[in-house]
């Protein structure tokens, strides 16, 4: 079934099934999947949430809860069928020859035990080292994963480590016994891009140096493109496409893979054009569709799809399999199977005479105090936003991007007056924005929040949620008309009027985010502040929401302030992009200009850190990997706030925070070495 040499096969999984027997039925979370991993190979398992990726990984380790029923023809690990061995034998493999790294570094380490204790545990258990040897090895391991002062760190507890550092510790634990296989379950999903790049580089580097095979579970196609040798694409508990990573990215053959690839916004492509979206949602595994499970969402669906397609070789390549009856058509037509015409919408001209929103020297300082010793307090000021100025014109989208803790959300909250700004001026529609006048413009300025699960009241129906603002602001006084208006709104955001009777928990994440958008639209606002509106959604749903936001903008001329950490998403949707770091603007400019010609070292590093879903580009570009982590906002570096992590830092940088200076058409950056860097 694949071209891995029999001698080199490390893991050979044949017809793996995992079933969960629940009260109201059986869920088959993994359905008859087979795959192999070669020694030292990097396999990625990709798919959206709920498709069975994590269950696959946990079932290999036999770490699923008791209600899970695992069966397989065989799971051969280094020639031994581990699906048949008793638990006591399995325990000896875990942590010794197969180890696992989990998604949540914040909760995956035991809070009451020291790092040293947790790191030496596998050494003491499996290798029968004594305490002294184990400690020496632990120090070596911590050094290997790039943790400074390992001797000192050994006696510390997890809460004294940042998220990125904790994930390094997890990798050290995983590597402790020099295993043959590491399973990494979304190891960087909870981390910032710059830290993600550090962790993935580390994992790749160490695994190739030590010849460890890696199974990486991820939803991020960029990560796959950058690191994987082979790929399994999973959909609704089955593998739909499998094989060599380069092959699959070059000639994706299953419609789902094509959709997945095309629904991700690309940083390296110019702005404009709709994203391909896969309609609908993944099926409920309690009662999956018969035949091909992708059929209800597939643009190529036909009668033949009522039968179950099997994995077959594609394009004459032995190492490329797909499970679809129409792979020829799919790979020939590519993304056009999703888009009727390759429509590149002409971006509407933005009238730059009267800015809708002017933010001038915005400051948001928070004073914090904490105990530092015996009955003594230390207090300090966190400058969450420090001297931020920009304008938003009607119908324009301004993207605000940066790592967590850079102050982007604080900017949005200050504009909405959810937090009282401590300095600076704001104007909305030529009205000075302050705590008194904000009530007058609230209607024109709406917000969409990040978490569609917690931002809708669970005890109100969708109808009531949408009706409330219409009543409160007395926009539509007549109740009959209100009903009609709500139906209009629901249709406008791609929902159905009958959904007004539903409660939020009856909707999916994407549908809830649509309700959030409808709620914001009901006020007929001029500006919507979108705070990470798509970061909680799967890529196919994310594309649907992004398209919706763009359509609404063209139709209604709404301006967006789009706050997000995903550079590609921001690039795709924004006319103008602002890059923030530690409360300050580092660089801003027109989207295409900024991304094709980033001037500030931080912007460059951010872009290098975000992987592009194309192996050809991803593996050949040179990258600046940022060192270190975000400094404490209580004690920012002297001079340029970025100086502590910048690769081009000089003494002059540490003297003074540079001002924003012109470096192109409507393009400014705050760096004193702009000219030097341009030539470099």
């Amino acid at each position: 079934m694949s071209n891995i040499d029999d001698k080199n096969v490390l893991l050979d999984v044949k017809n793996l099934n995992v079933e969960f027997k629940l009260k109201n039925g059986t869920v088959r979370a993994v359905d008859n999947i087979s795959f192999q991993v070669g020694k030292g190979e990097f396999l990625a398992i990709v798919g959206e949430s709920g498709c069975g990726k994590s269950v696959t990984a946990l079932s290999l380790m036999r770490l699923l809860p008791r209600i899970a029923d695992i069966s397989a023809d065989h799971i051969k690990f280094d020639g031994v069928d581990i699906s048949k061995v008793p638990e006591s034998e399995m325990r000896k493999l875990r942590g010794r020859r197969i180890s696992m790294i989990f998604q949540e570094p914040m909760t995956s380490l035991n809070p009451v035990l020291t790092i040293g204790d947790q790191l030496t545990e596998p050494l003491l258990t499996h290798l029968e080292m004594n305490e002294e040897e184990a400690n020496a090895r632990a120090i070596e391991l911590l050094g290997m994963v790039g943790i400074p002062e390992p001797e000192k760190r050994l006696t510390q507890y997890p809460h004294q480590f940042s998220g990125g550092m904790r994930q390094r510790v997890m990798i050290a634990i995983g590597l402790a016994c020099e295993p043959d296989l590491i399973i990494a379950d979304e190891p960087t999903t909870a981390l910032d891009v710059t830290i993600q790049a550090q962790i993935l580089e580390l994992l790749k580097d160490i695994s190739s140096r030590l010849g460890v095979a890696v199974i990486m579970i991820t939803h991020n196609l960029g990560v796959v493109a950058a690191y994987a040798d082979r790929v399994n694409v999973m959909y609704a508990a089955r593998i739909v496409e499998q094989g060599d990573a380069n092959q699959i990215f070059e000639k994706p053959s299953h419609p789902y893979t094509i959709g997945l690839l095309r629904s991700v916004p690309r940083m390296d492509k110019p702005r404009g054009g709709r994203l391909a979206t896969i309609d609908g949602l993944p099926p409920n595994l309690m009662s999956p569709p018969v035949g091909c499970r992708f059929k209800p969402r597939c643009p190529l669906a036909a009668d033949a799809c009522d039968n179950v397609p099997v994995l077959e070789t594609q394009h004459g390549k032995e190492d490329h399999l797909a499970a679809c009856f129409f792979t020829d058509k799919a790979s020939k037509d590519g993304s056009t199977i999703y888009l009727a015409e390759t429509s590149t919408h002409s971006s509407a001209e933005i009238n730059k005479e009267n800015p809708l929103l002017v933010v001038d020297g915005l400051e948001q300082y928070f004073s914090v105090s904490f105990r530092s010793g015996w009955l003594s307090n230390t207090s300090g000021t966190v400058k969450a936003v420090d001297g931020v100025s920009f304008e938003v014109y009607p119908g324009q989208t301004v993207g605000l991007v940066g790592e967590s803790g850079c102050g982007k959300t604080s900017v949005g909250r200050a504009i909405l007056h959810l937090n009282q700004a401590t300095g600076g001026k704001m104007q909305f529609n030529d009205v000075d924005l302050n705590s008194k006048s904000v009530a007058l413009v609230r209607q024109d300025m709406q917000v969409i929040f990040q978490d569609p699960f917690s931002s809708l009241n669970p005890r109100m129906t969708i109808g009531q949620i949408l009706e409330e603002p219409l009543k409160v602001h007395n926009i539509v006084p007549d109740s009959q008309e209100r009903e009609e208006k709500i139906s209009d709104l629901l249709l406008k955001v791609g929902l159905y009027p009958y959904m007004r009777e539903r409660y939020p928990h009856e909707l999916s994440g994407g549908q809830r985010q649509r309700v959030g958008i409808a709620r914001a639209l009901s006020m007929e606002p001029k500006l919507i502040i979108c705070d990470e509106p798509v970061s909680a959604l799967d890529v196919s749903v994310q594309a649907q929401i992004i398209n919706l936001l763009e359509d609404l903008q063209r139709e209604l001329g709404i301006a967006y302030l789009f706050i997000a950490h995903d550079l590609a998403v921001v690039k795709h949707i924004s006319h103008k992009v602002i890059v923030m770091y530690l409360g300050k603007i580092m660089e801003f400019g027109e989207g295409d200009d900024l991304y094709s010609n980033p001037r500030h070292p931080y912007t460059r590093a951010l872009m290098d850190a975000a992987p592009i879903p194309d192996p050809q580009i991803e593996r050949n570009r040179e990258k600046i990997v940022l060192k270190g982590e975000l400094p404490s906002p209580l004690n920012p570096p002297k001079g340029c706030v970025f100086s502590s992590r910048c690769n081009f830092v000089t003494d002059a940088c540490r003297a003074e925070m540079p001002q924003l200076q012109e470096c192109g058409n409507e393009h400014q950056a705050a760096c004193i070495k702009l000219d030097e860097l341009e030539n470099a």
Partner: protein
């Protein structure tokens, strides 16, 4: 850790002062007069004059601020005043009884912990099994059954089986440990059953919660023995909420168990409390309240320190 401990200890002082002040003034608002009760106790009439003289003698005619001043000055020296009824010092009255209540509280706690830990742990580890259901039935029973009623059942059982009651007349622990134990083990059991039920249920739910944490999965993924996963990674985290429950229950026991003490004919703090209320003996009452409050504060302090010992996040808190 040390600085945390010292800070916590120093913080108890203002709490205790506040309690002392509050107790003093609240009790003065309560109506009733001990002198009248005391003088008419033996029957017959008493004259206004006699009452005044008695009040003068006991210092009850002083202005309230003068009384307050004397009380507050006495406190740091351990002087709680005299009982207005027996005219012994309040501290000696309490000291005579507190030992018994304290011993009973300790004994109940030991019994409760000995019962609760195996029950709670087994119940959690074999969740959903017959064993779990039996344990849950037992513990829900323990919470529902009043301990004095259980006490009466125990006495009846003793009469029915060995045909005799636990020895009467309190014997000190150091005088005759066996007799003392024979006297106290029964009330301790009747109180400890309820106590252990509350603790076992708490322990069960916190173990279940901890076992579903990500770090337990990490420990299993390391190939650590299941026994070590549960004891080393699970128990220590599960102990935190359980320690709070034990501490609170213990502090309640220090306050005396009015009904259980009478069922077993024990002369503890509970009985003294009732007597002082009935007689309107303000000095004794405020001494008692203060003692119990101090007990609560101290137990809370110990629980906090235990928390810090178990959980580094608290120990290193800034």
């Amino acid at each position: 850790m040390l600085s945390y401990a010292i800070r916590r200890i120093l913080l108890t002082i203002p709490t205790l002062i506040a309690v002392a002040v509050l107790v003093f003034f609240v009790l003065r608002v309560v109506p009733g007069d001990i002198v009248e009760i005391k003088l008419t106790a033996e029957g017959g009439m008493v004259s206004e004059e006699e009452i005044m003289r008695e009040k003068e003698r006991l210092g009850l005619n002083d202005p309230i601020m003068v009384q307050f001043y004397k009380y507050m000055i006495g406190l740091p020296q351990g002087d709680l005043g005299i009982s207005l009824w027996t005219e012994n010092s309040v501290s000696s009255e309490i000291a005579a009884r507190i030992g018994l209540s304290f011993e009973l509280a300790i004994l109940s706690t030991v019994l409760a912990v000995l019962i609760a830990f195996p029950l709670g742990t087994l119940s959690a580890l074999f969740r959903g099994s017959i064993l779990d259901y039996v344990i849950r039935l037992l513990t829900i029973g323990g919470i529902a059954v009043p301990s004095f009623w259980l006490g009466m059942l125990i006495i009846m059982m003793l009469l029915a089986t060995v045909g005799q009651l636990p020895p009467l007349g309190t014997v000190g622990l150091f005088e005759d440990p066996l007799t003392n134990l024979n006297q106290l083990i029964w009330p301790a059991l009747s109180v400890g059953y309820r106590y252990s039920s509350v603790t076992a249920r708490m322990l069960r739910s916190s173990i279940l919660e901890v076992l579903s944490e990500d770090y337990i999965r990490t420990a299993r993924a390391k190939g650590v023995f299941e026994r070590i996963v549960i004891v080393k990674h699970g128990m220590r985290n599960a102990l935190l909420p359980t320690v709070t429950v034990i501490g609170l229950e213990f502090a309640f026991l220090l306050g005396g168990l009015v009904v259980t003490e009478s069922v077993f004919n024990l002369n503890g703090i509970g009985k003294l409390f009732v007597d002082s209320v009935v007689r309107n003996d303000l000095n004794l009452l405020q001494g008692l309240v203060l003692t119990v409050a101090t007990g609560f504060v101290l137990i809370n302090l110990i629980v906090d320190l235990l928390y810090a010992a178990l959980d580094p996040r608290i120990r290193y808190q800034k």
